[in-house]
Subunit: 221 residues, 2 copies
Amino acid sequence: MRLLVARCEVRYSGRLTAILPEAVRLLILKADGSVLIHDDAGGYKPLNWMTGPTFMEELGDVLVVRKAKAEDTLEIRLVEVLSDVVQDMGESAALQKDGVERDLQELLAASPSALGEALTLVKREWATEVGPVDLMCKDDDGEWVAVEIKRVGTIEAVEQLTRYLGFIREDPAKAGCRGVLAAQSIKPQAVALAESREIRCAEVDLAVLRGEREPDLTLFG
Amino acid sequence: MRLLVARCEVRYSGRLTAILPEAVRLLILKADGSVLIHDDAGGYKPLNWMTGPTFMEELGDVLVVRKAKAEDTLEIRLVEVLSDVVQDMGESAALQKDGVERDLQELLAASPSALGEALTLVKREWATEVGPVDLMCKDDDGEWVAVEIKRVGTIEAVEQLTRYLGFIREDPAKAGCRGVLAAQSIKPQAVALAESREIRCAEVDLAVLRGEREPDLTLFG
DNA sequence: CGTGCCAGGTGCCAT
DNA sequence: ATGGCACTTGGCACG
């Protein structure tokens, strides 16, 4: 990894064009060809960048970075280099995540009745022509139930499930298929839209699903 | 900006939990409190991060970063510091972009007939209950036309426009409102879905709109 | 390869 | 604050 701190001006041309006026920036040149230009503020996103693999040319004080198979170009004009260091970082293990949608899906697949009604899992990632339904289940009456799982339930999630249901119900055997939107939290607008389309909403708690915590009890109920 | 190259292990706990096994990484501590942990590969994204503003504590060899008003925590255990540099980067001007959806919208607002039919602009960003329509126009017959503009036209764009049209047509005066999806490129699936919903698709060229290039001529037509 | 979809998405701007 | 949406979205998994 090469770290450059330099006064520079950057021009990007590709899907859009962008100009970054001359100032002091941090340039990160990674082993995989990625180039990032960071500011001293503004958080997570680089101001300009190019993801690897790339081809790099040094024409005098101008660094030109190009994508392999596109016309994307990043031109870095170095005015004053304040620091230029190369660091060997060796191999590194990958990030281990826990608590993303995939985990929620696994837990619900294992106990679909956590959705608040007796359900039996038939298949995960049931393919339709317009994308995969997260869970396909059957209820006590043998009726099909399509479940869409999200970390946050939004209008988009309702649209997505509606699209799936449209295709699923084309099959006469599944014409009565119901839809359930399951998420850790669901926006009120999404709930409203879901209700208008007769899609049931179910908020689920990861900790409860894992048995780490007791479900909320409705007192005096 | 403080740049640390260090062998370290990182734990994040917040919307999910994540563990980054011990290895040599680049730590960027920005003036606004942002903390980024980058690898020598893996492109544009930090492995772990926290956007500013944050509170930072140094407990021995462990750096603890917390969000102001959330339970998000980033714990960085420093095993071996290979480099630790502070760089003063001063002020810097913002990135200037050109060619994003906004620009396309401005150009089409100025000459809506570039969409391939005689149209008169009535209003940009016409508010509906479910979001703003990019352009509301009228055609030669005085009929309303709602235009959704995208850089890339996808199924989602068709869904979005469909949602708008549903609300617009509730007004009897606009019951006959047509929909047009305008984009620099439109996916075949989006075209198919649009056709099934009687939404017209129009591919537009930024350079042509700007008059930088002649429209494609159909020879022998 | 394209197509669809998730992401700790982030960032921007509206009400 | 919340919602809706663009983003050089990036990244991955699957047909």
